[in-house]
């Protein structure tokens, strides 16, 4: 199982952004580096949910392209994406699994359904999801 590491400050900003986008789902990309079995998230990107929906999200391809270029300029790699679940748990939905085409990606899901937000990371392949170990560092 891959260990995914993210800074607490990035998580706090992700929560703030996702709450600002309510009632819709918020989404974005994550850039970082793989170091052995560890995957370190160095930058969280906030992209437009072009579905503007509380039940679906799609990243804006133009913004996706710009984010990937920015990662490259920072010597980071695109290592996955994140999105919020405004009213459901932090686990991949059937649609999340169906649309998870990048087998190398980590899929971070931030649930806002309870007062205390919950963030988990998943690997998704062939319609099956496996929770990754997510470490939130100060």
């Amino acid at each position: 199982m891959k260990k995914v590491i993210i800074r607490k400050q990035d998580v706090d900003e992700m929560i703030l952004h996702a709450r600002e986008k309510l009632p819709n789902e918020a989404c974005g990309l994550i850039g970082g580096n793989d170091q052995g079995d560890e995957r370190v998230i160095e930058k969280v990107y906030y992209l437009t949910n072009i579905d503007a929906s509380n039940e679906h999200f799609s990243l804006d391809p133009e913004e996706q392209l710009q984010a990937v270029k920015d990662m490259r300029a920072r010597e980071l790699k695109p290592i996955g994406n994140w999105h919020s679940h405004p009213e459901s748990p932090s686990r991949p939905s059937q649609e999340d699994k169906r649309l998870a085409y990048d087998l190398k990606a980590s899929y971070l899901i931030l649930s806002l359904m309870e007062e205390e937000p919950i963030l988990h990371s998943f690997h998704i392949e062939n319609g099956e999801s496996e929770k990754e170990f997510l470490e939130i560092r100060d």
Partner: protein
Amino acid sequence: MYITVAGNGKEVKKGLTLPELIELEQVEMPDYVTISVNDVFIDADKRADTVLKDGDTVEFLYFMGGGC
């Protein structure tokens, strides 16, 4: 000719098409990948007709979406 794919420069044969590049790069699930050439997104039905030129920059972007 010389092109750049996902930030990496490489020498390829002259007149390479996008489907040939997809095969060369072993792109997984290419039907779900958006392709840009020199920052212009290529419609899926135009891929087969797209011939790359020397100096082109190509990006492969997986569609990313989901639900809840």
